[in-house]
């Protein structure tokens, strides 16, 4: 599995969004988020770190397009929307969609519908 979890953390190290692609108990998640740096570094051999970095950037750009210059509060107030974006982009720990239009269109449609 390529991507095992996505965490958004602010500069103070506080979690602002967490989506896991494999199950971990709350305790495990707490421990993991505490030791995140090491876990990040314990990558497997076939990971392209630079691509993952750019993927994170793509996520930010996508949020930017939706919220317009996204900030921490945007994510906090619209937690579910950021989750939906992520659900469109990553499935089963794999990157499945990288076109911002395709990522955002279902979210916009849902907003319209309700």
């Amino acid at each position: 599995m390529g991507i095992r979890f996505v965490l958004l953390v602010n500069k103070q190290g506080q979690t602002r969004l967490a989506q896991y692609f494999e199950h971990l108990s709350i305790d495990e998640r707490r421990a993991l988020e505490g030791e995140i740096v090491r876990k990040c570094l314990a990558r497997n051999d076939q990971q392209n770190e630079l691509a993952i970095l750019e993927f994170i950037h793509l996520l930010v750009e996508t949020m930017d397009r939706h919220f317009g210059n996204v900030c921490e509060l945007d994510i906090m107030f619209h937690l579910e929307k950021v989750h939906f974006m992520l659900e469109e982009m990553v499935m089963n720990g794999c990157i499945v969609e990288t076109s911002k239009t395709n990522i955002l269109s279902p979210i916009q449609l849902m907003e319209k519908a309700s």
């Binding site: 709350i26 988020e33 090491r38 392209n48 750019e54 499945v96 076109s99």
Partner: protein, 957 residues
């Protein structure tokens, strides 16, 4: 101003999202929390509120959505919100798509696939998969990927397969991913549907195609051979993407669909690995990508890096390798840490194909080692670890130890300590160095090292390095004793290290006569006193003292009992630890024995002698004869007994099966057919025969069951004790009691150690040979880099080969090639032949070899012909499978064709004719060198334990 802006934004968000003031306040207070405990207090209060709110009747649906998100916050920040899970499940039923998807989202955030509530959601998913609204279907498919477990796959599988043909591409894509999930969960559940992935690869929509690469990657990782036919299509897709034929929405920073490109490159790397034909299809497109990629953006570099990985994985192509090397050197020369990091990683991949490459970048590597960025440093150590050999091991391990001392993270410390040990064991240039290195490792990371490393060290000191050189062994031990006595003065030594020290002092402290017995004893007493809470160290110390006493007494010398020693023994004999007590009493008993007996009990320097075990236990024969004379029944051997099966044993066997089945509530596997069981009848019969006075109907069935069950649990441990107890009719409860005489525990201490050392001997020596060959070719190509500090130059020289500079001058004054050529032919053929027979699939590793045939064609013909002569008639019988000659022929033609492919490269090299011919002359000496080093490595004896990487995996848990 900033604050005002964000405040305005808050207001806008609060009002527009329809969120309540409560939610607004919660988010604000979490955002403003200064510490984790403050955040915890906020969440706990919030959970109380939510618990109250959720128990109210008739909660509006929008309100409920907000409550669920607040619960999600609580869980995200590490608190249990399980009381609200059921509401998330309910929300997934909602008709409104936004609420439904929020419901699914929170269910996925809260529950794992094994949770009891999941069964309630499966029904909803089934219904939603049939919906007309594609957004609903999409939401359900996302939920399928997260919530469906192996057991529930059949409930949704048919619908998911149907959705693969859905008109909406977003649905097809998610259906592919759902199937991928099923494959991850249980490959057999979708084994009949694999063809769908191939079909979806040709989907009109690039998104669906891109998603399909994910399951294909997994499938190809498992079994590349079944997907070789896809190479052409995948290359075609990659080519189209590189030519920007995809919609521009997939562009990212002006690169066309970079993430799909990377995935494709990963797949091609798998398919082309060791497959020349498949790789051939890829060369053009890879060259194109190298050419087109924009190396000024991160994503462009990510693709280039993936290309380098691909090139280093597939069948090598010289032009592509050159492009990869060029890209790597660009990474290494970059200012960016990220790119340097990628460069170090890429270099690690490329040196597997051609070790010479490291040479050109030595200074860049050293720069990375001195970089303040820890990640980069760590990665560089990883690279150095891969390129360690006997010439640079001292520099590398010294650097590693320095690094190890300076870091605090115990995880990295353990890791790097284990690597130091591994490299030291593998490449140690001298015994002294090895001991010193191990001392440093133990001193600074002793508590993190696996105990087996300590035992290896003890064994090494005890066994010495060669039987023929007793003097060297003695010297080694003396130097170990010296260093340990010195180190003992330091405070806070790790327990494991102290154990080694005590043991070595006990065995060899007085061996060379340099130190008096009482001096060593007093040192050992100090150790025991200073670590009075560590029973293991104390035990080692007491035993060591006992040994010193024994050696002295056996040699007829008197030893005075030091007061501190007496105190120690008195204290230990009253210890809570029975082990310590026993050692103290043994010690006291030993003092009262005669010198001859003591020498028999504690022979000096005999830790390596095999203890002979006479399994017939002759010392018991008197006792047995006496017992037989007194009317006991003689022992019946196992083979004699096995024929006599008793009916009761069979009855009890079925009883046993009944027992086990009643333990589980459900039995999932079919019942086994009753099998005839060997040992059970035997013990039954013996116990029956041993109780002749009790008639069979009086034997309680339950008891019979008990013995057979016992037997069943430990089928192999048919123990003597059991036999005896059965013989005399005494029954002991033996559950959980360690079987002292059991076969397993009996042989385990000695067997694994010897077998491991003997089994690893061969590969390690093989490794050493190849290492030395590699290192010599490496030496020959040192490049001169102007204007670098002498310090760095020196470091580089020691890391990448000291002789590099000399070699060059040697090459200048070399003897004429013709003189050397015959020597090559006579000394080289044997290993060369082996090379070609052993690695038919793997390409020639050294690119320099490629250049040779065309370069000095007239000269090389001779050795090859000679080679063929050697291989010809003899090889047919020699190499049983017979691929030897043919393969070598194939590779030689390959060499020729490849060589003609790349004239410009050869030209650049041939401008320095001395260089080429110097590598030619290397061939002969290389092999000799290698053999010699191999021999010394054998002598040194440090090599055995370590070449198998798995060995070290279990060493450092």
């Amino acid at each position: 101003m900033e604050q005002l802006k964000s405040f305005g934004r808050e207001l806008a968000m609060g009002s527009q999202g329809g969120s309540s003031k409560e939610f607004l306040d919660l988010v604000k207070s979490i955002g403003e929390a200064r510490s984790k405990s403050e955040e915890d207090r906020i969440i706990l209060r919030e959970l109380e509120t939510l618990r109250r709110r959720l128990s109210e009747p008739d909660i509006p649906r929008r309100k409920m959505k907000e409550y669920l998100l607040r619960l999600a916050y609580a869980e995200m920040l590490g608190h249990d919100a399980s009381f609200g899970y059921i509401h998330a499940v309910k929300m997934a039923h909602d008709d409104n798509i936004l609420l439904k998807r929020t419901g699914y989202l929170t269910v996925a955030l809260f529950l794992d696939e094994g949770h009891d509530l999941i069964i309630l959601i499966v029904n909803t998913i089934q219904k939603d998969l049939r919906s007309d609204n594609y957004l609903v279907v999409s939401a359900a498919l996302v939920a399928v990927c997260k919530l469906i477990s192996e057991e529930t796959i059949p409930a949704v599988l048919p619908q998911v397969v149907e959705l693969l043909g859905h008109p909406k591409e977003a649905v097809r894509k998610k259906a592919v991913m759902a199937l991928h999930r099923f494959y991850q969960r249980s490959p057999s559940s979708v084994s009949h549907l694999i063809s769908n992935f191939r079909k979806r690869l040709c989907d009109n929509d690039p998104g669906v195609m891109g998603a399909t690469l994910c399951p294909l990657f997994d499938l190809i990782l498992e079994d590349a051979n079944s997907y070789k036919d896809l190479v052409v299509s995948l290359v075609g897709i990659l080519k189209q993407i590189a030519e920007k034929r995809l919609p521009t929405t997939y562009d990212y920073h002006h690169m066309p669909a970079p993430f799909i490109q990377i995935k494709l490159l990963k797949i091609l790397a798998l398919l082309g690995s060791g497959d020349k034909q498949a790789s051939n299809h890829m060369y053009t497109v890879l060259t194109e990508i190298f050419r087109k990629c924009d190396s000024s953006s991160n994503i462009g570099n990510a693709i280039i890096y993936e290309c380098v990985c691909c090139v280093s994985s597939i069948y090598p192509n010289s032009k592509l390798l050159d492009a990869a090397i060029e890209a790597t050197s660009k990474f290494l020369k970059s200012e960016s840490h990220n790119l340097k990091y990628m460069g170090i990683d890429a270099l690690g991949r490329l040196i597997r194909i051609n070790p010479d490459i490291a040479e050109e970048h030595q200074l860049a590597v050293i720069d990375c080692l001195e970089d303040p960025d820890d990640t980069l440093k760590w990665k560089t150590f990883e690279l150095l670890y891969k390129m360690t050999k006997s010439t640079n091991v001292e520099v590398i391990v010294d650097r590693m130890i320095d690094y190890m001392i300076n870091i605090t993270d115990s995880h990295y410390k353990t890791e790097i300590a284990s690597r130091c040990v591994e490299l030291a064991e593998q490449f140690a240039p001298s015994n002294q160095w090895f001991i010193q290195t191990m001392n440093k490792v133990f001193e600074h990371a002793g508590d993190l090292v696996n105990p087996r490393v300590a035992h290896n060290l003890m064994r090494l000191i005890a066994e010495g390095f060669g039987e023929d050189d007793e003097g060297a062994d003695t010297q080694l031990r003396s130097s170990a004793v010296d260093s340990y006595l010195r180190i003992l003065g330091e405070p806070k030594l790790p327990s494991l290290f102290l154990q080694v020290i005590c043991w070595v002092l006990g065995e060899y402290g007085t061996a060379d006569g340099k130190y008096s017995a009482s001096y060593i004893i007093s040192k050992l007493c100090d150790v025991a006193e200073a670590h009075s809470s560590d029973d293991t160290v104390k035990a080692y110390a007491v035993s060591a003292i006992m040994k010193i006493f024994a050696f002295e007494l056996a040699a007829g010398r008197k030893v005075e009992m030091l007061p501190e020693c007496q105190t120690l023994i008195d204290e230990v004999s009253a210890s809570h630890s029975t082990d310590l007590q026993q050692r103290a009493y043994e010690f006291q008993a030993l003092l009262g024995l005669s010198p001859q007996t003591i020498e028999n009990v504690m022979p000096p320097d005999a830790s390596c002698e095999d203890i002979e075990i006479d399994k017939s236990l002759p010392f018991l024969s008197n006792y047995i004869n006496q017992a037989i004379e007194n009317g006991a029944r003689p022992y019946i051997s196992e083979s004699e007994r096995s024929g006599t099966a008793s009916t009761i044993a069979v009855a009890s066997a079925s009883q046993y099966q009944h027992d086990t089945s009643s333990v589980h509530s459900l039995k999932f596997e079919a019942y086994d057919l009753p099998k005839p069981r060997g040992p059970a009848p035997s013990i039954q019969s013996s116990s029956m025969s041993s109780l002749p006075t009790i008639s069979s109907d009086l034997v309680p069935v339950s008891e019979a069951t008990y013995t057979t069950r016992e037997e069943q649990q430990n089928p192999k441990v048919q123990t003597l004790a059991d036999q005896i107890s059965a013989e005399i009719g005494v029954r002991l409860r033996l559950d959980g009691v360690q079987k002292k005489w059991g076969r397993q525990t009996y042989s385990s201490p000695s067997a694994p150690s010897t077998s491991s050392s003997s089994s690893t001997q061969k590969p390690s020596n093989g490794m050493v040979t190849s290492e030395t060959i590699r290192e010599n070719t490496l030496d020959s190509r040192k490049q001169q880099i102007p204007e670098v500090s002498a310090e760095k130059q020196r470091l580089a020289a020691s890391l990448f080969g000291k002789k590099a500079a000399e070699k060059k001058t040697q090459a200048g004054t070399r003897r004429p090639v013709k003189e050397i050529q015959p020597a090559v032919a006579t000394s080289a053929p044997e290993p060369l032949k082996e090379d070609k027979v052993i690695v038919p699939a793997v390409p020639p590793p050294d690119l320099l070899d490629l250049g040779e045939p065309s370069e000095t064609a007239t000269q090389t013909i001779d050795p090859f012909k000679q080679l063929e002569g050697l291989l010809g008639p003899g090889a047919g019988s020699d190499v049983a499978s017979g691929p030897g000659p043919s393969v070598s022929a194939v590779t030689t033609t390959d060499l020729m064709s490849l060589a003609t492919d790349m004239p410009p490269i050869i030209d650049s090299k041939s401008s320095d004719k001395g260089l080429i011919s110097s590598t030619m002359t290397k061939k002969g000496p290389n092999v000799k060198d290698a053999l010699q080093k191999d021999a010394t490595a054998r002598q040194v004896g440090v090599t055995p334990t370590s070449n198998n990487p798995n060995l070290f995996k279990d060493l450092f848990g």
